[in-house]
Amino acid sequence: MLSQNAIAYLIIIALGLPLVAGIFGLFGKNSKAFNTAVGIMNMLGAALGACGAGAFLFLQDRGLFLSSSAPLLDLARFFPFLPSHALSVDMLSAYFLLIVNVGFFLVSWFSIFYLPRESDRYRFPWLHIATALFVFGMQLTVVSGTPLIFLFAWEIMSFAAYFLVIADRSAESVKAGFSYAIMTQLGAACLIAGFALVSRGNMNALFLELPPVAGAAAVAGLILLIIGFAAKAGIFPFHEWLPAAHPQAPSSSSALMSGVMLKVALYGLLRVFETVAHFTLPLPVIFGFLALTLFTAFYGALMAAVESDLKRALAWSSVENMGIMFSMAGMVALFFALGGNGAAGAVWIALLVFAFCHMLFKSGLFMASGALISETHTRDLDLMGGLAKKWPVFSGMFLALCLCAAALPPAGTFYSEWIFMTTVASSIGAGAIIGLILTIVISVFALAAGLAAFAMVKIFAGAFLAKPRSDHAAHVGGLPLALYASPAVAGVLCVALGIFLPYFLRGVFPSAEGVMFSGSALMVGGTSFSPLTVVLSLMAAVAGVWILRSVFVSRRPRTTDTWDCGAPLTSRMEYTATAFAAPPRFFFHIFTLPLKKIISQPVSADNRWIVQKKLEHESRTIAEAFIYRPVARAIDGIAGRVKRLQSGVVQFYLALIFVALVVTLIVAL
C-alpha cells in the first residue's frame, strides 16, 4: 500500500524527471549513448508516474464520476509558493496521468532504438528538450487545479509540440507547423476567453470552486472552452492542422502527439464537462456539439480511408477517434440531460476505455510506422508493399494494431464501442425524437467504424501485402526486434485491455453505474458478455479449423507464380493503396472533393494520335475549400483595405492625426 505522500512524490518526480532528462540531452549532440541515457531517464520517470497514478486509481474507492468529490491529493502543498490545491490529483487527473505516463513510457522506450536510425535528419538535443517540455506540459496540464496553471501548462505543451512538428526543418514541416500553430493559438485564445468568462475573471479560482455555469456569458464561455479543446483535438472544422502536423514530426513524437496529446485535449473537455459544467449543458449546445463531433468521426475515417500517405492516414484516423471520443462525451451530457444516469455512466466508461486504448494503439501504430519508414524511406503507401514477407513478425504486430484501430474484437476498442452501442441502442426506446437522434448517432458510429476498418485494411494491405512497389521497399533490410518491441507491447496491452476489461474496470471503478461486472463478463443495458469467452471461442475455432485441415490434408503446397494472364506480372499492375480506396473516394466524393486532371501531350509531331497521358489527382478537403480559404481570403481582403492606411504619403499621416483629434473631440466631449 502506498501512502498519499508516496504517491504525490512519485507524481512530482515524474513531472520533473523528463525536464532533467531533456536538459541533460541538450549536451549530447547526436550521440547514441546520450540518447539512450535520456530515454532511460524518461522511461524511469514515466514508470514512476504511471505507478503513482495507477496506485492512486486503484487504491481509491470513488464513485463513477471521477472527481465527484474534492481533489484528493494536493500536490501544491509541496510547493509553498503555490496556493493550496493549485496542483492536485483527483480520479480524472489520475486516469489521464496514467495514460500520459504509459504512453510516454512506450515512446521513450521506442525512441532509444528509433532515433539513432534517424540521426541524419534530426538534432537530438532539439528533440530531447522539446519532448521534455512537451511531456512536462502535458503532465502539468493534467494535474493543474486552476485555469491559470492549466493554461500555463497547456501553452508549454502546445508550443513544445510545435518544435516537434518542425523538427526536420523542411519547408513542408514549417508549413504544417504554421497550420498547427495558428489553430493552437486559436484554441488557446478560445480557452483564455472561455475560462475568463466561466471564472468571471478569476483565473486563480480552483476548478472545483468555479461559480456554477449560469447566464449567457458563462454559457458562451463554456462553448468557447469546448471549441478550444475541439481545436486541439482536431474536431471538424478545426481539424485540418492535425493530419498536416502530426505526420511531420519524427515518428516517436507523432506517437506522443497523436497518442497522448490528444488525450490531454480530451482531458480538458472532460474536466470542463464534469467539474465546471457538471454536465448541465443546454440541449442546443449538446446537439451542435454532437453534430460536429459525429461528423468528425465520419469524416476522419473517410479521409483515413482515402489517404495514401501512411502517417497522414494514421493522423486522419486520429481525427476519427477524437470525433468518437468527443461524441461519447457529448452523449454523456445528453444522457444526463435526459435523466439517464446509468446510460451516462456506461458511456463515460466506454469513453475512458476508448481513451486508454487509443493511446496504446495509436502511439503503437505511429511508432511501428516510424520503424517501417526508417527502412522504406517513404511515407507513401503506394511505394511500399511486399513487406509482410520480409518481416512476418513485425507485420503481424502491425496487423494487431490495425485491428485495435478498427475496433474489431478482441481489442479493447471493440468493447468500448460495444458498451457505447449497446447503451445507446438500449436507450432508443426512450422517445421518438431522442430515438431518432440516437439512431443517427449509432448509424454514424457504424459508418465510421466501417470506414475505419476499411482504412486500416487498406493501410495494412498497402504497406505489407503483394509485391514491393518501389526499389526501397524491395530491398529493405531487417528490422531488429528491439526497435518494435515497444509498439508490440502497446498492441498486446490494447488487446489485453479488451480481454481483461472487466477486471480492469472493477479495479478502477468499483462502484460504477451503468456497467456491471460478473466474473469475466461485462453487463450493459441488460445484456452481458464476456470478452474472455469471445477470445477463447475465436481461438478455439481457429485451432479447430487448423486441426481439421491438418487431418484432411497433409500435402505441402507448391510455390508458383501468380496467375498473370500470360503477361509477366509487375508491381505496376497491382492495386495500390490509392486504387484500393477508389470506391469510397467515388461514393463520398462530395466530401473528398477529388480533382482529376488528365493532361495529354502529343509525343510526335506528325501523328497527333500518339499522346502521352498523365493523370494528376489531388484532393482538397471540405474545410479547406469552404471554410479556411474563404476566411483567409476575407482576412486578406480586410487587411488589404486597412493597409491603405500606410499610404506612404506624409500629408495623409498628418491628416489622420487631425481627423483623429477632431473626431475624438466631437465624440468625447
Partner: protein
Amino acid sequence: MYIILLVFAAAVTALLCLLMRSYRAVAVCALAGSLAVFVFALFTVAVWFGLLPGGYSALKFDGFGAVILTLIATVQLFAVSAGIPYLKAELEEGTITLSQVRWYGALIPLFVISMAVAVSANGLGLMWIALEATTLATTMLVAFYTKGGSLEAAWKYILVCSAGIAIGLIGILLLYYAVYLAGNGADVASVTWTGLLASAKTLPPAVVKLAFVFIFIGFGTKVGIVPMHTWLPDAHGRTPSPVSGMLSGVLLSVALLIIYRAKLVVDAVLGSSAWSDNFFIFFGALSVVVPVCFMIRQKNYKRLLAYSSIEHMGFAVFALGFGPAGVVFALIQIIGHALLKSALFFGTGNILLAYKSTKFEKVSAVARNLPRLAVLFTLALLMLLAVPPSPLFFSELGIFSLGFASHPYVSAIVLLALVIAAGSFFMNFMPMLFASHEHAQPLHQDKERWNAVHTVIAAALTLAAGFGIALLIGPGGQMISRIISIN
C-alpha cells in the same frame, strides 16, 4: 540627485564619443557611459524606493515611472552593448564611416537623457521639452544610413511626431489654463503632476477633459496609437537595429507613461475613471487590430516587429482601460515587451549583417547558418507570443480576464487579432528561421561566433523569464501592484 549625475554622465559620454578617434575608443566610451547611466538610474530608483538616502525635488517619480526608468537603463545598456559588434561589422564592411559612429555614440546618450528626464520630470513643461527632445535625438539615428528610405523615414518621423507632440503641448497648455482658472493660489509657473493630482478637486472638469483629449491624441502619436502610428514602422524599420530596440522597447513606453499620468489627473478631476477608460479601450483595441492587418503579409522582418510593437503597446493601452488591476497588467506587458522586443531587434541586426537584407524572402535557414542566434531569437519570439514563462503570458491572461468581464465583445476582437498576429509570426518568421531556400542564403559562410548581441539577448531572456516565474509564484505580481499603488 542621482538623476542629475545620470544626465551629467550621459552628457559627458556624448561629448567624449564625439572626440574619440578610433572605433575602439568610441566603443569603450559609450559602454562606460552606458554602464554609468545604468548604475545611476538604479541608484535613482533605489533612492526613490527608500533603499538609499537622498532626495529629489523637481524630478518626480511614481511607481510606474520608476519601473520605466529602470527599463530605460536596462535596455540602453543592452542596446549599447549589442551595438558595439554591430557597428564594428558595418564599419568594417564600409557601410558607415567612423564619423557616423561618433555621432551614433553621441546621440544615444542624448536620447537616453531625454527619456530619463521625460520620465522623471514632475513639471509638465520640462517633461514636454524632454519628450520632444527624444524625437530630435532619434531623428538623426533614423536617418543614420543616409539612404533614400532612411531619409524618408526620418522625415516622416520628425514631422509626424513633432506635430503630434505639438498637439500634446496644446493639451499641456490647457492644463496650465485649468490651474490658472482654478486660481487657488497654485502657481501657474510650476504646474506639476503632483500638483495637479493634489488640487484635482478644484480644477474645472471641462478644460481638463479637453486637455486630456489633446494629450491623448498628441502623445499617442509618440506611443504609436492607431491612427497616429504611421511613422512608427518606417522609423523602426530603418534605424540601426540596436536603436530600433530602444525605440520599440522604451521610447513608446515613455510616452505611454505620460498619457497614463494624464489619465490619473483627469480621473481624479472627474472622480471616476469611466470617461477616460473608454479612450484606452477604444484606441487600445484599434491599435491591436490595425497593425495585425499589416503583419499578415509583411515582407520585411524589421517592419513586422515594428507593427508588433504597435500591437503590443496597443494592448497595454487597452489594459490601462481596466482600472487599477489593468494598470498592473499593463505594466507587466510593458516590461515584458521592452525586454523581448528589444532583444528581437538586436537579433535582427545579426541577421541583417549576415544576409544583407531585411526581406523575409532573402533570408532562410538562419538556424543552420546562425545557430546560436536562431535559438535565442526563437526563444525571444516565443516569449513575445506569450508562451509561458513569459511575463506577457500573465499580462495577457490578466487583461483578458478583466476584459471579458466588462467588455466581452471588444476583448474577443482583440483576442482574435492577437491570434492572427501570432499566426503572422509563425507564417513569416519560422520559415525564415528554420526552412531553407536556395536564393536566400547568407553572403558569407563564416562560422557564427558568440558576441555581445547573443549575450544581451540571453540576458534579456533571462530577465524576462525570471520575471515571468516571479509572477507565477506570486511575489512578482504583488510587487507590481505595490509599485503601481505608489504615486
